[in-house]
Each structure stands twice: as structure tokens, then as C-alpha cells.
């Protein structure tokens, strides 16, 4: 049962080993010559290739990844890891709020649409709002808040950013919850517990709620990946100086150490988060553990 975790840990290690190969492969395949990236991040001048072997580039890059040393930002002069960590604290505020929003609103929508036909009809008619990309919602919200005279330097921007980030998760979680609530009473799982003598209420309370919570938990990893990946859509319009905003600025300023550092740090961080979530899920969910 822990084979999957072992595999994930192994692939995480493999990812760390493969990442430094990417620039070398791209040069070798002749796709591009990312000398500027290598020079900016590793301080290696590729014009003097006779003195530098590919192995040197690889080992140097790998050791820097392991030490989380991505050099200094070319625009601010700060250590890249310091810049990323300062961005994380800002981003954490809206991600945390967005997760709370997502689960709370999705639970309410899921229960209401399952119980009341009018709510279900309304949900079906308004679902197209959730199809809109979050950048569109962010622009509309920004314009609307400005129209209302809201000071966008206040904490309102965090709520606005969180609302934008939670659009897609709300759609996914509420639909999944509604489906579970509709299908569970007719499932063999439910009937089996009733056959054992548990009442409907007891079955819900003792068995079903646990699995609904576990199913909620299974969305967590994807939601986090989605939120961190598209953070720049929520932070740039509202001027929240988190990871997404800094990343966006880094790309505009060709600040390669910060861009590379952010990407690698993000990939490794999210892989570790995924690994931890998977381990927790397996230890809590007997269905997973016994497969």
C-alpha cells in the first residue's frame, strides 16, 4: 500500500535530478541556446565552452537546486530564495482565504442544489459564470470595486484575490459533492450498512460523512497546484506582492535567476505537498490503503 508513496518519493528525486538536464538537453537538441539563463542563474559563461564541460554545468546546477541557491535577483540584488520566501507569506494569505472560500461556498452550493430543485435550476443557469477564466473575473471585480470607491491598497484586495482564485475550485467541489450526495443513498455501500442494522441517520453520521470528508481532501492537492500555478492572475490585477506578482515582474524584467528559482522551487514544493497529502490520504482512507 505504501508502494505508491515510495514511487512518488522516487519520482520526486528523479525530478530533482532531471531538472538540471533540461537546459543541457535544449542546447544539445539545438532548440535554443539559453546561455543568458545559464549565465544569469549559474554564473557560467558559455562562450568559454572549451573550459566548461556539460557535466560541470549539470553538477553545478544540481548542487544549487539541492541547496536552494538560485543566485541573486538581477533587478533587486536580493537572494532569490529570500525573494521567493517573502512572496510566499503574501501569497499564503490569499491561498488560505481562497481554500476556505472554496470549501465553504462549494459545500453550501452542493447541499442546496441536491436538496432544492429551484437552487439546482438556478445553479444550472448561472454555471456559465464559472466557465469564465479567472483573469476575466479579476478585471471585472477590480473595475467594480473601483467604481464602488473601495481603496485597493486596503485588505479588501486579499479578499478579492481569494475570490478570484476560488472560482474554479468552487465549481469542481460543489459538483462533486452534489454527485456524491445524490449517488450515495443508492450505493451498495449504503445498503450494506443498512443491512447490518444501522439506521439511515447512523449510516450517514458514522460512515458517509467520513468518506465525503476524505473525498474533499482528495481535491486539496489539485486545488493547491491550480492556485499556485495561476497565482499571477489573481495577484497582478490587485497589486498583491506575492509570488505570482513577483514572478510576473521577473518575466517582464528578464530576471532569469528569479524565474528559474521560482519554477524549480514551485515544482519541488508542490511535489512535496502532493507526497504528504497522498501519505495522509492513504493512512486515513482504508479504501486506498487496501488497494
Amino acid at each position: 500500500m505504501y508502494k505508491r508513496i515510495a514511487y512518488r518519493a522516487f519520482f520526486l528525486l528523479l525530478t530533482i535530478l532531471v531538472i538540471p538536464l533540461a537546459p543541457i538537453a535544449i542546447i544539445f537538441l539545438g532548440v535554443n541556446s539559453p546561455e543568458y539563463v545559464i549565465k544569469g542563474t549559474l554564473h557560467i559563461d558559455l562562450s568559454q565552452t572549451d573550459r566548461i564541460s556539460w557535466l560541470n554545468i549539470y553538477t553545478d546546477f544540481l548542487s544549487r537546486i539541492v541547496q536552494l541557491d538560485f543566485g541573486r535577483s538581477t533587478s533587486s540584488g536580493e537572494l532569490v530564495i529570500k525573494e521567493i520566501l517573502s512572496g510566499i507569506s503574501e501569497s499564503f494569505k490569499i491561498i488560505l482565504l481562497a481554500i476556505v472560500f472554496s470549501y465553504f461556498i462549494a459545500t453550501v452550493i452542493g447541499i442546496l442544489t441536491e436538496r432544492y430543485k429551484t437552487a439546482d435550476r438556478l445553479w444550472k443557469w448561472t454555471q456559465f459564470l464559472f466557465f469564465l477564466p479567472m483573469i476575466v473575473i479579476a478585471y471585472l471585480l477590480l473595475y467594480f470595486l473601483d467604481y464602488l470607491g473601495v481603496n485597493m491598497l486596503s485588505n479588501v484586495r486579499y479578499f478579492a484575490g481569494a475570490a478570484v482564485l476560488s472560482i474554479y475550485p468552487v465549481y469542481v467541489i460543489s459538483n462533486a459533492l452534489k454527485k456524491t450526495l445524490q449517488e450515495l443513498p443508492d450505493s451498495d455501500f449504503f445498503l450494506c450498512h443498512q443491512a447490518f442494522g444501522f439506521s439511515v441517520k447512523e449510516t450517514w453520521k458514522r460512515f458517509c460523512v467520513k468518506f465525503i470528508v476524505l473525498d474533499y481532501f482528495s481535491f486539496f492537492e489539485n486545488i493547491i497546484i491550480f492556485m499556485i500555478g495561476f497565482l499571477f492572475f489573481a495577484e497582478t490585477p490587485f497589486g498583491i506582492h506575492g509570488m505570482g506578482y513577483k514572478f510576473m515582474n521577473a518575466i517582464q524584467r528578464f530576471d532569469y535567476p528569479l524565474i528559474i528559482g521560482y519554477c524549480i522551487f514551485g515544482i519541488i514544493l508542490l511535489s512535496i505537498i502532493g507526497l504528504i497529502i497522498d501519505a495522509i490520504k492513504i493512512s486515513l482512507d482504508h479504501r486506498e490503503a487496501n488497494i
Binding site: 505508491r4 514511487y7 512518488r8 519520482f11 520526486l12 525530478t15 531538472i19 533540461a22 537546459p23 535544449i26 532548440v31 535554443n32 539559453p34 539563463v37 456559465f128 466557465f131 469564465l132 477564466p133 483573469i135 476575466v136 478585471y139 471585472l140 477590480l142 473595475y143 473601483d146 492537492e221 489539485n222 497546484i225 499556485i228 500555478g229 495561476f230 499571477f232 492572475f233 497582478t236 490585477p237 510576473m248 518575466i251 517582464q252 532569469y256 524565474i259 528559474i260 521560482y262 519554477c263 524549480i264 514551485g266 515544482i267 508542490l270 511535489s271 502532493g274
Partner: protein, 232 residues
């Protein structure tokens, strides 16, 4: 492009107004729609074919260890942050829409292959496969003549359902400036350029935003219809 006609609001001459360098926003929108559609219709068939090939190979060869390793690899890949990997590779490979398409294919194919593999595993358990095997039909024939037709429609629907995902990643990469480069135009870049003129020149972003909204809603409605029809 007319430098003397910068940031002009919508007129009869320029229906959607002009931008900071005097480019007609209507023409930019037309070009951006073309970019979005071209990207989608190039990426979709390629991931379809690659996903089918890899999924078939995974399902065809019954070496449990190899299969276990490859399946775990695909499962791991599915949980990786696709956008960050795409950005990392784009920074190294260089910005440009062709590179965006190549990287979209690279990052989306594993999930496609996993879907094909799962569908094949489900269909393989059905009785008719046992019957065909008992007739002495060869394994390749069973795969190509009997299993493939059984998964084809659900695979078509699944591939089509990835349209909003492709549009979204493409929008994100273009917003960051890693996709279409000037003088070409994309919705992502138009929205980014419009942010600085959010309150002073609304036409810089409103028209692009309305078209994006229409594009996404239409894509999602189409996908929902197809999925409802296929029951996946």
C-alpha cells in the same frame, strides 16, 4: 498601425479603438482568435494520437513491473504543476507560440495516455473480449479491431473536453508574455497591456475580455454537451 492615432476610443474607422502604438484593436482581436483556435486545433489532434499510442503500449504489454513503473510515472506527472513546468521549459526554449504548442503537447500527453489506458483496462474486462480471444483472434487484432472502436467515442469526447484547459494555459502563458511575440497578438498579452489602462482606456481590455468570455463559455458548453452525450 498609426502612431498619430494612439489610444483612440472606438470610432467608425476603428470599431474597437486603437492601442498605445496606434494598432487597431479589432484586427488584434481577430488575429488573437486565430491564434487561440490554431493552438487548440494543432494541440488537440496531436495529444489525441500520442495519448492513444502511449496508452495502447501501456495496455498491450503485460509486463507487470514495467507497467507498474510507467503507470506510477504517469500518475506522478499528472500531479505535477503543469503550468510551472511549461514556464520553466519556455524560458529555456525561448518564447514563441510554436514553442507554447510543443510544450502544451509535452505536458498534456501523459494525462491523455492515462485516460486511454484506464478505458482500455475497463473494456478489456468485458465478456466480448474473452469471446474474441476464444475464437483465436490475435492480440493486435483484438486491440485495433475491437478495443479501439469501443473506446473511440469516449476518447474523442475526453480529448475535446481538454479544450478549456488548453485555452486557459495558453491564455496564462501569453499573459506572461511567453507566447505570441510582437507584432503578433494574443488575448493574454492584450489583457496584460490593458491592465495599465484599466480606468483611462477601457477599450484596451474590454473587447478582448468579452471575446475571451464568449470563447471560454462556448468551449465549456460544447464540452458539457459532448460529455453528456458520451456519459464520461
Amino acid at each position: 498601425m498609426n502612431y498619430n492615432n494612439k489610444l483612440s476610443p472606438p470610432t467608425l474607422e476603428h470599431w474597437f479603438g486603437t492601442d498605445l502604438i496606434g494598432s487597431d484593436i479589432f484586427l488584434k482581436c481577430v488575429s488573437a482568435v486565430g491564434t487561440e483556435l490554431l493552438t487548440t486545433f494543432i494541440v488537440l489532434p496531436i495529444i489525441y494520437a500520442l495519448g492513444l499510442g502511449i496508452g495502447f503500449i501501456l495496455s498491450y504489454f503485460d509486463n507487470d513491473r514495467v507497467k507498474e513503473f510507467l503507470l506510477n510515472l504517469v500518475h506522478y506527472w499528472v500531479t505535477l504543476p503543469v503550468l510551472l513546468i511549461a514556464i520553466f521549459l519556455l524560458i529555456l526554449a525561448g518564447a514563441g507560440q510554436w514553442n507554447v504548442m510543443a510544450i502544451l503537447i509535452f505536458v498534456l500527453t501523459p494525462t491523455q495516455a492515462l485516460y486511454v489506458y484506464n478505458r482500455l483496462t475497463e473494456v478489456k474486462k468485458q465478456d466480448f473480449v474473452l469471446v474474441k480471444m476464444s475464437y483465436g483472434i490475435s492480440k493486435p487484432d483484438i486491440y485495433f479491431k475491437h478495443l479501439f472502436p469501443n473506446i473511440r467515442y469516449s476518447m474523442d469526447a475526453y480529448t475535446l473536453s481538454r479544450m478549456p484547459e488548453i485555452l486557459m494555459i495558453n491564455l496564462g502563458l501569453n499573459f506572461l508574455g511567453l507566447g505570441v511575440q510582437p507584432p503578433g497578438s494574443s488575448f493574454g498579452r492584450m489583457l496584460f497591456d490593458g491592465l495599465a489602462f484599466m480606468f483611462s482606456a477601457w477599450w484596451m481590455w474590454v473587447f478582448a475580455m468579452v471575446i475571451i468570455a464568449i470563447l471560454f463559455v462556448s468551449a465549456n458548453l460544447l464540452v458539457r454537451k459532448v460529455i453528456a452525450g458520451e456519459g464520461i
